[in-house]
């Protein structure tokens, strides 16, 4: 019940934010901040309150479409809670990051942000496959609008590409969902979309592989993994800062979440057979994403490609089929949420100040804005995988897990951390270090508002980096119940 209320509250907040535009241009974003802040406090309260005996923090189950046995079933376990809390937090970050960037349509902008997040919360808590798909799609439209309306020069192309990729892969998933339901129907005579009911469905292995692929393609596209990643650089580059933050911080995680929650547990055998390929995709993503990141001259594009590389670790970890890998993937989800969101926020801040994302037009920015430089440095280092910060924990665990399963893949993937160093430091060099660009007279440094958000993200990364136990405990409860680990 409370979960549905939260989703509705976010949706309602969106409407309120839109309507409040008439009051002042600050009103919509205050509404957003209050909404996300309340959501964050609520998540924290749930966390402190602890789970019930079944490991759940909240749950509900209402009939929705009786004809197909579709339920409005929402549940929040440890992993969901973790992701929802991250969602709320990054919601605040997103609002702050686009504070000065948006010049018109403030109300509608916040409306879209809130609606994306409502969809995301739904995705993270849905316990009915159709409901999941429903939310999966619901978050698309506002995201599309964020890019299409407030994006940069190539927004038409980028937003369309984003939508097409996710939607087409989503159709495959829908197809697979329906096929799964009918296989279940054939076996039990019951039509249901309930996740739990479908979990143990006996499927002909050949069909199972195809159905699993239906899910996998959708999630891999969202993740994204090579070779279906090419929407991401365009979408990120063109999106407004808040869009990039949400996209990188949260939306990509829905892909990872989908793999962990659906693709693998629903088809354990097929997934196990597919593990090698998935790990291969992960490895290729790590290396190819890294190499592509280095190729870029556009700040945001570089960060976007680096996301692809980081998401490769998630594939690698999940398909290692052991606790280490799975936990590594989950920690990576959280840590990457912070580090990449921060880097995109930085990219947005620079673009807003210099009206360019081209690093060849930057250089020596540290002189003008040491705080921004320091922050960039911190998050670059985090994403390079420095021990003591969250990303390291995730990537190390993922690799460690993967190594148990397939040492060769893990070894090749480990080379990715060298590539990460190459592009990460090159990013730093071309933007903030080096000879100051004489064309740039001055650049406003970060103020209190930006710094407080940055500080929060830094704290988050350090927290996850030196004491990831909180995250691990939350996700552990979920991992144990998925029933896919030996």
């Amino acid at each position: 019940m409370i979960l549905f209320v939260v989703i509705l509250a976010l949706l309602a907040a969106g409407v309120v934010a839109w309507a409040s535009e008439r009051l002042s241009k600050d009103a919509p974003r205050l509404v957003s901040i209050v909404a996300f802040g309340a959501g964050l406090i609520w998540s924290a309260a749930l966390w402190l309150d602890g789970a019930d005996a079944g490991g759940l923090y909240a749950a509900m189950d209402w009939p929705w479409i009786a004809r197909f046995g579709i339920h409005l079933a929402l549940e929040m376990d440890g992993l969901s809670l973790l992701m929802v809390a991250l969602t709320m937090f990054l919601g605040i970050v997103a609002v702050v990051s686009s504070w000065d960037e948006i010049e018109s349509g403030h109300g509608f902008f916040q409306f879209n942000i809130l609606w994306v997040m409502a969809g995301v919360v739904g995705v993270f808590t849905a316990m009915d496959l159709l409901l999941f798909f429903f939310f999966w799609e619901v978050m698309l439209i506002p995201m599309y609008l964020l890019i299409a309306i407030w994006g940069h020069e190539e927004k038409a192309y980028a937003s369309m590409k984003f939508f097409l990729f996710t939607q087409i892969s989503g159709l495959l998933m829908l197809f697979a969902i329906l096929a799964l339901v009918y296989v279940h129907h054939g076996a039990t005579g019951e039509i249901t979309f309930s996740y739990k009911a479908l979990l143990g469905t006996e499927i002909d292995p050949r069909i199972a592989t195809w159905l699993m692929l239906g899910f996998f393609v959708a999630f891999a596209t969202k993740l994204p993994s090579v070779p279906v990643h090419t929407w991401l650089p365009d979408a990120h580059t063109q999106a407004p800062t808040a869009g990039s933050v949400i996209l990188a911080g949260i939306l990509l995680k829905t892909g990872a979440y989908g793999i962990i929650r659906f693709a693998v547990p629903l088809f354990p055998e097929a997934s196990a057979d597919f593990a090698l390929w998935a790990m291969l995709l992960g490895t290729v993503s790590i290396l190819y994403g890294g190499a592509m990141a280095f190729s870029q001259s556009d700040f945001k594009r570089l960060v976007a490609y680096s996301s692809i590389a980081h998401m490769g670790f998630i594939l690698l970890g999940v398909y290692a089929f052991n606790e280490l890998g799975m936990q590594g993937a989950i920690v990576t989800m959280v840590a990457h949420g912070f580090s990449t969101a921060a880097l995109f926020m930085m990219a947005g801040a620079i673009q807003q100040r210099l009206h360019t994302r081209e690093m060849s037009e930057m250089g020596g920015l540290w002189t003008h804005a040491p705080r921004m430089g320091t922050m960039t440095l911190f998050f670059v280092i985090a994403s390079v995988g420095m021990p003591g910060l969250g990303n390291f924990v995730g990537e190390f665990l993922a690799l460690l897990g993967a190594f148990q399963e397939n040492w060769l893949m893990a070894v090749v993937a480990t080379a990715g951390i060298v590539v990460a160093a190459v592009y990460g430091l090159y990013l730093m060099q071309r933007s903030f270090q080096g000879t100051p660009n004489p064309d740039i007279a001055s650049m406003r440094d970060f103020g209190l508002r930006e710094m407080s958000v940055m500080a929060a993200m830094m704290a988050g990364l350090v927290w996850v980096g030196i004491y990831p136990q909180h995250v691990l405990e939350l996700s552990n409860a979920t991992i144990q119940t998925l029933g896919v680990l030996p």
């Binding site: 929705w64 479409i65 009786a66 004809r67 197909f68 018109s104 349509g105 509608f108 159709l130 798909f133 429903f134 799609e137 619901v138 698309l140 439209i141 599309y144 609008l145 299409a148 309306i149 038409a156 937003s159 369309m160 939508f163 097409l164 939607q167 087409i168 159709l171 495959l172 829908l174 197809f175 329906l178 096929a179 339901v181 009918y182 129907h185």
Partner: protein, 486 residues
């Protein structure tokens, strides 16, 4: 056969016929009224009453169960469902047309008469269980449509559209008639069910007859390769009439086709199955591809309707099998209902935005509509997204129903074609949405033409229904299930 027998209709039959009789009687009265008093207001309200009053008789007609009147008209839940649907669509068309035609024709009274006769024709077609009523219903509808399309008193496009439609439709009707004659020649009865009971040896002629009948029907449904008239007619016809053609005309033909397919066991012939499948796949693919870069909204919707009717063929194919009958019919009816809403909304928006002389049919004319006319833009966006099959709109559940039906009956090829078609389709539907979100390039004051309130109310109502049924479709689903199949 005594004279007394001629007029014997049982009370139950009379009650079943009541909606039709009311409509027919209303038309007669309206004709007299219009002839006596040439008042637009009278004609308009008369038409509304003529269309609305019969609806009051529908519940009683439903209560009487299935009544087969004179062996030619089967009045059951199925027929009455379409009766209601057509009447409502006609009312919407009347409301939308009132002001639209004001600047295009000096006399508008005849239009309402034509609209009501067309509705009567469509309603009869949907109830036809016999070739005579099939033919008459369809032609009453078609003849009315020719005149409605050519209704505006100036300009080339309406005339050209009407001429093309008339000639091609005439040829198609002839083909269909010839087919009927061949079927009659083999079966000896003009009743639908008779064609199902043919001995195997006679199939040759029967199949030729069915093929020719289907060709005629395919033409009316604008399936590839009998689709070419569609964009020209849609573009040339007055916008509200286009909406009517796209919905009521298609709906009526689909209704009778579905009934015929089930009564005559059409799909028992593998050849017919192949024909329908091929035509359906072609329609999905070709329709979507033709719409891809279309710049004229009416043409775009025309091509999209080609694809949608292709999708609808899945329902036909599924309903044609004994196992899938119930699901197939349900999915077909739900799809038609959803399609009515989306299409009427889309053409309603075009109508509302059209000025005294020109239709608002260039997509470029929709640039920035979201900022000028948020409500109308939202309706069009909802319609476009519904046509694309995105959740939160009725279009999603419509498509979901079809895919469920297809998957449930292993119509894999058709489902795949639907997925491919939808994938292509997303592109052009989103183009509409994107155009509306464009920011005005310069600071010119945003022109805000006054929208007629009744038109606005209509499209907003349609938009709200699209979304409401996109969130909670159960009532309609349950209704359709209660009505049962033909």
């Amino acid at each position: 056969m005594s004279a007394a027998e001629v007029w014997t209709l049982s009370a139950a039959e009379v009650w079943a016929l009541a909606p039709y009789l009311a409509l027919a009687g209303g038309i007669a009265l309206l004709l007299l009224a219009v002839a006596a008093l040439r008042s637009h207001r009278l004609a308009f309200w008369g038409a509304i009453a003529t269309l609305a009053i019969p609806l009051a008789f529908v519940p009683t007609a439903l209560g009487g169960g299935t009544q087969i009147v004179d062996d030619v008209l089967e009045i059951d839940g199925y027929a009455l469902f379409f009766f209601v649907l057509f009447s409502l669509a006609a009312i919407a068309t009347a409301v939308l047309s009132a002001r639209y035609l004001g600047s295009r024709a000096t006399h508008r009274q005849e239009f309402y008469l034509l609209l009501t006769t067309a509705t009567l024709g469509a309603a009869v077609t949907a109830g036809a269980s016999h070739f005579a009523t099939f033919l008459m219903g369809l032609e009453v509808l078609s003849i009315s449509l020719y005149a409605m399309i050519a209704y505006p008193e100036e300009g080339h496009p309406p005339l050209e559209a009407a001429a093309k439609y008339l000639i091609l439709s005439g040829a198609a009707s002839s083909t269909m008639l010839f087919g009927m004659a061949l079927i009659y020649a083999t079966s000896g009865s003009l009743n639908f069910e008779a064609a199902g009971d043919i001995a195997a040896g006679e199939r040759n002629v029967l199949v030729l007859g069915q093929a020719m009948l289907l060709v005629g029907v395919f033409f009316k449904l604008s399936l590839v390769p009998f689709h070419m008239w569609t964009p020209d007619v849609y573009q040339g016809a007055p916008a509200p009439v286009t909406g009517f053609v796209a919905t009521v005309s298609k709906g009526a033909v689909f209704a009778v086709l579905l009934r015929y397919a089930i009564d005559a066991d059409l799909l028992s012939s593998p050849a017919v199955g192949i024909v329908i499948a091929v035509i359906a796949v072609l329609s999905m693919v070709v329709g979507n591809i033709l719409a891809l870069l279309q710049t004229n909204l009416k043409r775009l919707l025309a091509y999209s309707s080609i694809a949608h009717l292709g999708y609808l063929m899945i329902a036909l194919v599924v309903a044609g099998t004994a196992a899938g009958r119930a699901l197939g019919v349900e999915s077909g009816l739900f799809y038609v209902a959803g399609y009515f809403l989306m299409t009427l909304a889309a053409f309603g928006v075009v109508t509302v935005l059209s000025n005294e002389t020109d239709d608002a049919d260039q997509i470029s004319g929709y640039d920035g509509l979201l900022w000028r006319r948020p409500a109308i833009a939202a309706v069009l966006a909802a319609a476009a997204l519904a046509l694309a099959g995105i959740p939160l709109t009725v279009g999603f559940f419509a498509k979901f129903y079809l895919v469920a039906a297809g998957v449930g009956n292993a119509a894999w090829g058709l489902v795949w074609a639907l997925i491919v078609g939808s994938a292509i389709g997303i592109y052009y539907y989103l183009r509409i949405v994107f155009a509306m979100t464009k920011r005005p390039e310069d600071d010119r004051p945003l022109e805000a033409r006054r929208a007629p309130w009744e038109g606005l109310a209509t499209v907003v109502l349609l938009g709200v229904l699209i979304v409401l049924l996109g969130i909670y479709p159960s009532p309609v689903i349950e209704l359709i299930r209660e009505l049962g199949g033909p």
